[in-house]
Point group: C2
Chain length 418, copies 2
């Protein structure tokens, strides 16, 4: 058992994991440095709503500095860690470096194109605000281009939308795009009929939402079909190029492809020179540490924790938050010379929404879908948002959208036009 | 007197001028095509609040299509007019062209660097949402960089902000940046003291707000000084480069320069091959037409209307709106074979805000400043915003900001960091 007096803790990443470590270490007997590439904590579960013009970015992104304005031991820095030196116990940014006693790596995951990184340009993924704004612009521009063109074939290409991946993000995106096309834009276009839009959801497995119970997958599938989404199961994407998606079954001409098919830990994990799984995640001990370096913790989407039954945990925010709290407790215990029990995760259940009044909830002991699952989804997401005003305005936007079918943030900002 | 049955009207630009033409021609006996480079009408008077993180873009930008969803004779197109052919009576976009009986050019103005276009990169202006987001990111990043650096000289450079131009936009920007520095960010930074930030406002004339009465200029100057803004009158910028602004009096090291010093009509005006003034604006007849082509109207910031006393009109939204309404009336009269009287502008007065509880109001017959001018400013801006929900949320944001000094949209979105 070690005992470090007033240790220096460096946390890389201000997502759910990193933030929960920093919060629990606030005003405790340690110096915390939180480093993030952006200036905000992003509430990723609602990012798809930014991408589909439902919410303004500011309401799901909270300045990290503001969160820690009243703490005296947490310093926030905007920057990108380029190198980690385990021997020196230092992290290197462009220009400066910082020493640590404990390092918490919580950098999350990026998109996984499974070796086809060249698809990224045609099929952006959804991880950051920048991604969401890129996708929003792509979707809105497709409708505008369809309205402008005289060519029927081109028009249909602009009105075909394709989402790759049937996990929660893919399902939410497909449902939201279908709603925009069938409802929001219905009256706005004079020449095109936005309801001629096709939304395809391509999934390699034989069901969508594979982390949920099969019954809920069934129910989500029915809901998506009701919204007019064409769900293509057991279908693998073989090529994306020239505004075409080629699967093992057929080819679809489409100007808008969104990638929600898989995650891969951020490349910074390679700096740790440690064992990783096939998603690039660092394999951590029962204490969420690197097996060979007890000063380094890895948590959240970039960590692979294997429990006593050999199972790994999904890359969702409750896991990241719970791991962040555990690490903070572990550090605080060590400061006091106490031992911490190995980490255990208690499953808090799973929620996914398909669209207006449609969601699925899976708590293991109880499973349900439909309006009440959706109300629960609304409640949980408002509750976990940071900031009273953000909660209030997001709720207001949802109530407004519920009654009018209008989307709040239908903005094409960049002026790169054809 | 001509009489054209069901004429084709093309409006270029969905700003205050173009929008008011299209609105007044809605559901009338003509075919209207509204062409804009973006998909939204921008409420420019509040753009500085987006640039200073006070409001999210979506609440001051309203989709043009939605405005005309219930009209059957107005078609909206997202696109850029590249060429105007007065003989053929056609406008050319990339790819397609459209014929008109009447053309209304309402493309507005861009920044005027008076021959120093290379300054634009260092000193962006504020005209579009894209501009505003660029400036917002620049301002927020400057504080972040100041926090990160160890170098005192560099730190001060990041904490120096300079606004060129003492018109309403320049005054509003300078006031808002000072408020961010002195109030909003005060507690958020641990190492830098945001109150060490200097905000400079450089104006070539001997007073700010030159279109207002001198007494109000005085009062605005006092208010800015109270906010800590360093106003440099009778000072001319000679060079902007390498994070340095060189004036005829001194040199200031600053990483953040904002250009609000002058406007120039958009280059599309050159396509009209008509007489222009030194700001590049088309000189129009008493009917707001080109003198040599009665099928073409030019209105708003890209038009130079000279009244019977030889005066020109300022580039403000009430002028554009009034001119737009006039043109629509003119066209509707011609459809009915009626003659329209020459255009006259009735001055509706001038408002500018300096910051929280501080504004000036100039109606000619009455002038006042202070809290009541500010309340009037708030009321007028909420009233003229489009959309009930936008008004409600903007008002909510202002009330919230009034009591907490917090800014709603403190987002650094792009990940291009040092």
């Amino acid at each position: 058992m070690r005992k470090i007096k007033k240790p220096k803790v460096i946390i890389i990443g201000g997502g759910f994991g990193g933030l929960s470590v920093a919060k629990k270490l606030s005003n405790k007997n340690c110096d915390v440095l939180l480093i993030d590439k952006t200036n905000h904590h992003l509430f990723q579960p609602l990012l798809y709503q930014v991408a589909t013009a439902g919410l303004s970015p500011a309401y799901i992104a909270f300045p990290l500095r503001s969160i820690f304005r009243k703490t005296n031991n947490v310093r926030v820095i905007l920057g990108e860690v380029k190198r980690i030196d385990k021997n020196e116990k230092k992290v290197y940014l462009n220009g400066e470096n910082y020493s640590y006693d404990y390092l918490v790596v919580a950098v999350g995951a990026g998109h996984n194109y499974f070796g086809n990184e060249n698809w990224e340009k045609s099929a952006p993924g959804l991880k950051t605000l920048e991604d969401a704004l890129t996708i929003r612009e792509k979707i809105l521009l497709a409708f505008e281009k369809a309205e402008r063109t005289e060519d029927e074939v081109k028009r249909q290409k602009y009105l075909n939308f394709l989402v790759v991946g049937g996990g929660p993000t893919g399902v939410e995106m497909a449902g939201a795009i279908a709603e925009i096309a069938k409802k929001t834009l219905m009256q706005d276009f004079k020449r095109i009929n936005p309801s001629k839009a096709n939304v395809f959801l391509v999934e390699a497995m034989d069901r969508i939402l594979p982390t949920f119970h099969p019954k809920l997958s069934q129910s989500a599938l029915r809901d998506l079909k009701k919204l007019g989404v064409k769900v293509l199961l057991s279908t693998r994407v073989k090529e994306i190029r020239d505004e075409k998606v080629i699967t093992d079954n057929f080819t679809i001409d489409t100007a808008t492809v969104i990638w929600a098919a898989g995650n891969k830990a951020k490349p910074l994990i390679n700096q740790l020179n440690t064992e990783t799984d096939k998603m690039g995640r660092a394999i951590v001990s029962q204490f969420l540490q690197l097996k060979e370096d007890k000063n380094i913790f890895v948590i959240g989407d970039c960590a692979c924790f294997i429990d006593e039954k050999g199972r790994t945990l999904p890359g969702v925010s409750p896991v990241a938050i719970s791991q962040g709290r555990y690490v903070a407790k572990f550090i605080l215990n060590e400061i006091k010379g106490r031992v911490t029990k190995p980490y255990r995760y208690f499953d808090k259940g799973n929620l996914a929404t398909i669209g207006r009044s449609k969601a699925v909830a899976d708590f293991g002991w109880i499973r349900f879908s439909g309006f009440f699952a959706w109300l629960l989804w609304v409640f949980v997401h408002i509750y976990f948002l940071i900031g009273f005003k953000n909660r209030f305005i997001v709720l207001l936007e949802w109530i407004f959208a519920y009654f009018t079918y209008q989307k709040s943030a239908r903005l094409i900002v960049s002026q790169k036009l054809g």
